[in-house]
Amino acid sequence: MAASRPNQLFRNMAAKIAAIPMIVTALVVFVGGTLWTVAYSFTKSRLLPKWDLVGLDQYERLWGTRRWLVSIENLFIYGVCMLVLSLVIGFILAALLDQKIRYESAFRTILLYPFALSFIVTGLVWQWILNPEFGVQNIVRSLGFESFTFDPLYNAKIAIYGILIAGLWQGSGLIMVLMLAGLRGIDQEIWKASRVDGIPAWKTYVFIIIPMMRPVFVTTLVIIASGIVKVYDLVVAQTSGGPGIATEMPAKYVYDYMFGGQNLGQGFAASTMMLLAVAVVIIPWAMLEFGGRKRGT
């Protein structure tokens, strides 16, 4: 009892030691690595990083490169479609599963299994199914519709939608599960109250349930968005960015310049732009989500 107050530094010493991996990861890898990349994006590093500042040269070059512009455009198309469609599909499927139906778990299992598969597997399967020579196009043609054309992966104009189909197939199950959890979290008495009030089911969803699920939608949105920016494997497996550069994505641009093109500066600049894009999504969300509360997370 009367012992002198122990040194603050040594309080909970074991806990502090145990937290060292976390601290190192947070500071050295996440903060340090990010700052390093951002800093070197202002250099003209090529094969090896070199501290040779060139200001915004890399960014000017980046935004003057057609391949990067196509990547951004693709990311935009893919991103918007993915966001809207997976939210809509995910919510509708969840609402259907929430109707006290039979075989619910069987349906859920089927809708979610693609999420267990990697993007590589996803990309390769859909590459095969969308193959015009053997896949969907061939089958519809053999049914008598000779002029039917459906070759998204071979038509530069619509190739990105071929990727979208695969992406939706892989990811919408997860959104469905998150939405279903959200629906199940709604107080059942709300449904009872709306039935006593005589509100039709669709109106209850639109005016009461969906507004109540706002936090779920926001979280889901953030999850989808951060997944979209990282899209890489799917494109590599399904089209390798082709035909031509029709399905290039920023993440692939970064990889190719860093490890293939031996132009590190471009890679750094492009990845910094990706970071910026994510920050634009995450920071407002984090402020919205945690701004009101005292403690993080």
Binding site: E189, I190, K192, A193, V196, D197, I199, P200, I208, M212
Partner: protein, 367 residues
Amino acid sequence: MRGEYAMEPSISIRELTLKFGALTVLKGLNLDVNPGEFVVLLGSSGCGKSTLLNCIAGLLDVSDGQIFINGRNVTWEEPSQRGIGMVFQSYALYPQMTVEGNLTFGLKNARVPKAEIADRVARAAKVLQIEPLLKRKPAALSGGQRQRVAIGRALVRDVDVFLFDEPLSNLDAKLRADLRVEIKQLHQRLENTMIYVTHDQTEAMTLADRIAIMKGGNVLQFDTPNEIYNRPASRYVAEFIGSPSMNFVEGTGDLSASPRFAGTHGDFALDGYAFAGRPAGGPAAFGIRPEHIVCGPEAQAKPIHLDTKVDLVEPLGSDTLAWVHAGDQPFWVRMDGQSTIRPGDRLPIGFDPARANLFDMQTEARI
């Protein structure tokens, strides 16, 4: 009791059965509620009281039987068509709508004319004193205010029957007592039929015109609070109502012309006892409430008196509870709050069989 016998019942339940798969939750239940009556469904959790209320509301489809509201068979009707308003335990307010939005959403949907809606909302808001809150959202209200809004949502429906599903359970003790009074006043003013589900016997006793005590999907007793307290139909009801619970002495009843009860501590005459039906002798439990036991010198004046020793004293301020025993027979007794009795003291107790209840050991029914 307000009801007159010639009136058609406001709510009438006939042979109502509800099954969830193999589980039978309600078993051929019958109940009649008079117009303007306040009926409380009381029982411990799982007794089927909320289930019954949900069946009346039409939120659960019945497996068998019929439900009448105001003489109309509503067994297959949608909840919104039954002429009921309902108040929920979690309030179930629509969180992103204002109080006014909550009150009007159903009416707008039913295409009630605007002027009429405004009129009804104004009236309900006045009755419930929530006028200053109309533009606020539920999140900005206290628990008591939310529950008032929830009642308001039932009120604007302009219906004869109100259903309450444990409306006060989510409130703290003080607020619960306040709102209980308000609900009672509301009932006195509106004279609607109200059915109120609770597991709280104080709420039941104070609010109800009649209480239906439920257990295992059946109504054990449907009667005035007074009758249920004084003449419980079965040992279960006797134990359920009252705190601390009724004391029981097990023994044998001799129910001939001069009825007697023989326990382990001597036998005594059951003078003045109101028998429920044809008395038959046999093993029986003699029940007496702690507050009907007289302690101290006055005990000698009672027809039955015993000498006991005090084990435990619980002073509550308003009264004092004592856990005493005579031989191996324990009793709870309730006495004056100023009592200075201490554990180990000797305490004579006495009681009058006229205030007691006798239960058959086999059927548990009151004799």
